[in-house]
């Protein structure tokens, strides 16, 4: 029997899908007993969502006005305070989870495994290194407490069932720092599907040449109900905001359909799309490395091809 604690990611109202993916990862451990911890100001609704996920045995709800924003320095001591009974503590490999879990590991003096992509046994895990150019198998035998982040693109989300696990309110009485203060977040609102969970993604690169150039992608994306992503070069040049970046230092995604438009296919970009089911590449350079990984390639000028596709879709 392995007691596993999963730290939930949420926005105060909804549980982030990455949490359900952590649950699937945890279920792969032999004899997994899964507890999800929700840290919030008022987290009843989020806890109820977590309680319904298949495989979850218990939900701990820790409510505190200090939890209004997900500040690692504030959350980590609370996670550490309840982590005692759990030899394995998991969080998602999102910016939330990466920021928080390693701080928890530091507080507990425990080693961390980042980006767990597969579980082979109770003590054997696989994770990508060198931007996904090598896969490492790690053995954790003898480690009394392990912290992990779960590579969301490697796991399906655990489904919500009818039965609900019990939700237990827990008071965590630890001193919380005031040295870290939330100021603001610029979450650009868009009607498009979320990049990390969309079934279809269209990404643009440097070739789009301007923020205006991206409009032809937004237009096609609307027709396909697709999310829009970008290469680092496009983000650096200011054609697209940073939250759209796909790749080693951006988002790691696994859509059914990924269309790379005017993207050369640098290794750091490909890292982000390795798990896409079908990759389409549109590039005017037939030698571009993106064609080595594309399932369907089209050599052509994107400024002609993209509007043409849109027209063909009617």
């Amino acid at each position: 029997m392995t007691q596993i604690l999963i730290v939930a990611e949420h926005d105060g109202k909804n549980l982030n899908l990455s949490t359900a993916k952590c649950v699937t990862c945890a279920r792969a451990l032999p004899g997994a007993q899964i507890t999800v911890a929700v840290f919030a100001v008022e987290g009843g609704a989020v806890a109820a969502q977590a309680a319904k996920l298949t495989g979850v045995g218990k939900v701990l709800l820790i409510e505190n006005p200090a939890n209004a924003h997900a500040l690692a320095a504030v959350l980590a001591p609370q996670v550490a305070a309840i982590a005692g009974p759990y030899p394995l503590v998991l969080g998602p490999s999102t910016t939330f989870g990466k920021d928080l879990m390693a701080r928890v590991a530091g507080l507990l003096g425990a080693p961390q495994l980042s980006d767990i992509m597969a579980i082979e046994s109770a003590t054997r895990f696989r994770r990508p290194i060198y931007a996904g150019n090598a896969i490492l198998t790690v053995d954790t035998t003898g480690v009394p407490k392990l912290i992990g982040t779960v590579r969301a693109a490697s796991f399906e989300a655990s489904a919500a069932g009818d039965a609900a696990a019990p939700v237990e309110k827990v008071a965590v009485d630890v001193p919380l720092p005031t040295h870290t203060r939330f100021v603001s977040v610029s979450a650009a609102k868009s009607d498009r599907p979320d990049l990390q969970t969309a079934a279809r993604v269209i990404s643009g690169g440097r070739a789009l040449a301007s923020a205006d150039g991206f409009k032809i992608l937004y237009s096609l994306a609307a027709k396909l109900n697709a999310a829009v992503g970008a290469s680092r070069a496009a983000v650096d040049a200011g054609y697209a905001p940073n939250e759209m970046q796909v790749g080693q230092t951006g988002k790691i995604i696994a859509p059914e359909l990924y269309m790379a438009v005017g993207i050369s296919g640098a290794i750091q970009h490909l890292t982000g799309i390795k798990d896409a089911r079908t990759i389409v590449a549109i590039n005017k350079d037939g030698e571009a490395p993106i064609f080595e990984v594309a399932d369907i390639g089209l050599v052509g000028d994107l400024f002609q091809v993209i509007p043409e596709i849109e027209r063909l879709l009617g």
Binding site: R103, G106, P111, E243, G297
Partner: protein
């Protein structure tokens, strides 16, 4: 003295095509170009700019690793760091061990700010900065793309999944860098000559009283599964047909 400490890790250069050793015990590093981790170059650049603006008096770079790491410390000195500290250690240095060693250096150097990379591009762990901030019991601001310092605090813009988040943190603190924080300067030849005269102190983990047991056993390195090479279509109409056949449209 207002001091900034910057963590430097020696890694396989980001342009190198990584190959796994045939016996699966690691990746090939013999005869391969080694560099300063790109995120650490950005960390150093930021520290140098703060100093140039008068926000700090000294920039100290530090690494924990084998003798070869001196090369990367020299590069950092050539970029403009004032001093280098080399904690000589062989074998695998896990992030927790690196953080423990860096904490000891912090206790000696009393920096105002510690800047690390958000991740090392070899192990892709992304842990050391957060662990160090936890051990030091100080604020952390990870994935920084903008940094403004006042006397006792910093305002940091962070690249997060939702967009850009701004935090205010009291100093001293740990900051980890994202790629868009700045563009590191190039090292000029005369600077490389000058760097040879800058102080580079070597010490050992034992000098610092740090133990660095390897807790995670690296069992096997494998190349990733290769994708099958696909088909080429000649125009938009063929592309749309192919996608329809696959049930994707």
């Amino acid at each position: 003295m207002k001091r900034i400490l910057v963590g430097i890790k020696r890694v396989v250069d980001y342009n190198v095509r990584i190959r796994v050793k045939p016996d699966n015990t690691g990746v090939i590093t013999d005869g391969v170009k080694m560099s300063v981790n790109p995120f650490d170059e950005i960390a150093l650049e930021e520290a140098l700019r703060i100093k140039e603006r008068g926000g700090a008096e000294e920039v100290v770079v530090a690494t924990v690793g084998p003798a070869d790491c001196q090369q990367q410390l020299r590069t950092a000195l050539a970029m403009g760091a004032d001093r280098a500290l080399h904690v000589v250690a062989d074998g695998v240095i896990e992030p927790l061990a690196a953080a423990r060693a860096l904490l000891k250096l912090i206790e000696r150097e009393q920096p105002l700010l510690v800047i690390l990379g958000k991740q090392a591009i070899d192990d892709d762990n992304g842990q050391t900065g957060q662990m160090l901030a936890a051990l030091w019991n100080r604020p952390q601001a990870t994935y920084a793309s903008k940094l403004e310092l006042t006397d006792a605090a910093a305002r940091v813009t962070r690249e997060v999944d939702a967009g850009l988040e701004t935090l205010e943190i009291d100093l001293p603190a740990v900051i980890t860098t994202d790629l868009r924080l700045n563009e590191p300067r190039y090292v000029k030849l005369p600077d490389i000559m000058k760097a040879k005269k800058k102080p580079l102190d070597s010490l050992t983990l034992a000098d610092l009283g740090v133990q660095a047991p390897q807790q995670l056993k690296l069992v096997k390195f494998e190349p990733p599964p290769q994708r099958q090479k696909g088909i080429k279509v000649k125009d938009a109409a063929e592309l749309v047909d192919a996608l329809k056949k696959k049930g994707l449209l």
